[in-house]
Amino acid sequence: MTPRSAPRGLGRRELLRLGGGLGMAGLLGGALTGCGTGRAAEPVTSGTVDLSFWTHDQVYYDFFAAAAEHAEAAGSRFHWRLHLTQASAQDVVTKSIAQAIAGRGTPDVAGLEIGSFTRLLRGDLAAELLEDLTEDVAEVRDDLLPMRTAPYTKDGRLYALDSDAPLCVFYYRKPEYARLGISPDFASWEEVLDVGERLYEREGVSLGAVAVGSELGQVVQVYEMLTMQRGGRFFDEDGELSIETPEAEQALDVLVRGVQSGCFGTVSDFYGPAMQTALKTGKVISVPMATWYKVYGLRNNVPEQEGEWRIRSLPVFPDGGARTSFTGGTGFAALRGKENTLAGVELIKAGFLTPQEQVRRYVEMGYLPTRRSVFDDPSLSDIEDDYCGGQRMFQVYREVIDEAPVYYLSADRPVLDTVLSGYVLRAYHGDLSPREALGRAADDFRGQTRS
């Protein structure tokens, strides 16, 4: 058989090379150069707006839908029609970025859970993706709690407004405390450890719990809470690691001693079946946690314990610090360069900036105001909470809000969660002292963030 010669200039190899080369050049170039946000669309400035609203929790959608109605009734130039997309907190960020790469389909307003928001701090992601709200809050800037704007600020620009001022308090089950003959009026963490150790030996009951499972964020959550209460922090204002401090060491020391003595129980999932079992069986009868824990942790997991729980400010560290701390939060942001960007910004302002809506947010959702002046609203102090036995919880929050620490984020926060969680667990096990654990975590962190 005589091979047929290919036509000149169109050999098989040449054709394949040409096709491959063109495809590669076209797609690679298109994919990567097109990854920037597109040109800014002409913004809609009034009228009816169909707004794409992404969040991990339906309750935010309900809140903003009502806020939109209230704003319209008050004469807003927009008539918002919200279209909800619900996804996990991580996915809201991942899919927003993916849609931005695709060049369309991004949300107009997105609820960014604080742990996921850190991803947007890397490079220029926040600036590329989110509308700068700095000017929009200028009028009330002095009244906004700086500790709740700092986490969502990068290079002096504010990219999201927080849905809550998630103060940490000490939840305790009053009837169980009474039955076991202990008082919740602990003067300090040292007293908690002392009482807790004896209680665990006697009854097998713990005065708190820490997560030791596969959720790295959960493992470090309580530790970070106590570190901030003590006056330390994981990252400083410049985003530099700050865990090799006496404050961070003392906080870890309290947890380590608590875990090893049984004062603090260990659970694989702080928000799942393990913690639910611990609460239901009465193995854990108090928890230091944020305001939102009443809804997501207690009411969801142990509704039958309604009326039994109470809150108080956190027991203090003898060497200093505050009576409260922060953990959690979800910032709402408008995506930039879209025709609905302005409408999105106006919706966020209508929902999260007015005193009336901040009051309503606490009444309906239990989320604290982020404007300092609203804490002085007398109507909030009188609200009695059914789940907490009619306690006027806001009075506790009002008492400690001015002690709340500032919380700074860093793009490298996920790296820290990974390395720190491993060493915190080793400290719990007694393999490392708190100082060694923090030192090694810092070394690993620096090794992994070298690039």
């Binding site: 169109l10 491959g20 990567l32 920037g36 490079g123 992601l125 790295l216 990974t418 992994q448 690039s451």
Partner: protein, 306 residues
């Protein structure tokens, strides 16, 4: 085979376009494959190679950094740990799962076995279960404080405070066990098919020669199923080297990074830390390692050779 002589090209004014069409026709027929191959293989691989030389957060233009990502990987303790863990998963897969699958297949191949289909389904079932379900079930089973396993141990022996997912060594053992549980049934199917294809005459001949069970297994069965064994070993190696589901869902790579696999490292860098260039570099390293070792295994085990 006779080959028809080439048709004479028509002459005249219409000859040229028709001839060109005929010359192009074969390319048009094979074009769909190459277009798809280019789109879904060449371009992604090329993009990954390009990205591995850049720093990119997902939006905007990637910054070219040359080989810096690879240099950083070489010094990244996290990546070293992931490589070490992946090696453990590979060893478990090749030296535990594959032999276990062969033994189970041999057992299922036994003459006169009752409820053979029931056993087959039972062993195969984990393979078709959703990894999410598997993760949920195992986290409930292996939980230190409230898990079923520890509850049983507590009831039987009074201890039962083992931290199956929180202890660095036990967490690896737990992931290894889930790999075994999930994959052994699937591989058993391959071995069973191979065993059924071994000619009976060979067993009869071995019996006549006075070979015992072990001798028959090593001298008749193993050589006869060698091609299938080689295939299973190579695919198990590739699957284990790229393992993601089990450690991601059961331990999240923890405690710390004690069960982190390379695939998880890549995922984490890209989708949790927005380090796409770094992730691409790690993915490329994984690709080179898997491809290289697969080629060596192919040659050693003579896969695809008569």
């Amino acid at each position: 085979m006779t080959i028809p002589p080439p048709t004479a090209a028509p002459t005249g004014g219409t000859a040229k376009p028709a001839g060109k069409r005929r010359q192009l026709a074969p390319y048009a027929f094979i074009a769909p494959f190459y277009v798809l191959y280019t789109l879904f293989m060449v371009v992604p691989i090329g993009t990954a190679v390009y990205l591995s030389t850049t720093e990119w957060v997902g939006l905007g233009t990637p910054d070219f950094v040359g080989l810096r990502n690879f240099a950083n990987l070489a010094r990244d303790t996290s990546f070293h740990k992931a490589l070490g863990n992946s090696l453990i998963y590979v060893l478990v897969s090749v030296f535990v799962v594959v032999p276990a699958a062969l033994l189970i297949a041999q057992a299922l191949h036994t003459k006169g076995l009752r409820a053979r289909d029931l056993f087959r389904i039972t062993f195969f079932l984990p393979m078709v279960l959703s990894p999410i379900v598997i993760a949920l079930v195992y986290s409930l089973l292996l939980d230190r404080d409230y898990g079923l396993l520890n509850s049983v141990l507590r009831a039987l022996f009074g201890g039962g405070n083992t931290d199956w997912l929180g202890d660095p060594t036990l967490a690896k053992v737990s992931v290894g066990f889930v790999i075994l549980w999930r994959w052994v049934g699937y591989l058993t199917i391959f071995f069973l098919a191979a065993l059924q294809a071994v000619p009976k005459e060979r067993y009869e001949a071995a019996e006549l020669d006075g070979a015992g069970r072990l001798r028959t297994f090593t001298a008749v069965t193993l050589p006869a199923i060698r091609p299938v064994t080689a295939f299973v070993v190579v695919t198990s190696f590739i699957g284990a080297a790229q393992l993601f589901d089990e450690p991601y869902l059961i331990t999240g790579g923890g405690p710390g990074e004690e069960t982190l696999s390379v695939a998880m490292f890549v995922y984490r860098a890209a989708f949790e830390r927005q380090q796409f260039g770094y992730a691409a570099a790690a993915g490329l390293v994984l690709f080179v390692i898997v491809f290289g070792i697969s080629q060596i295994l192919n040659r050693l085990l003579s896969i695809g050779r008569v």
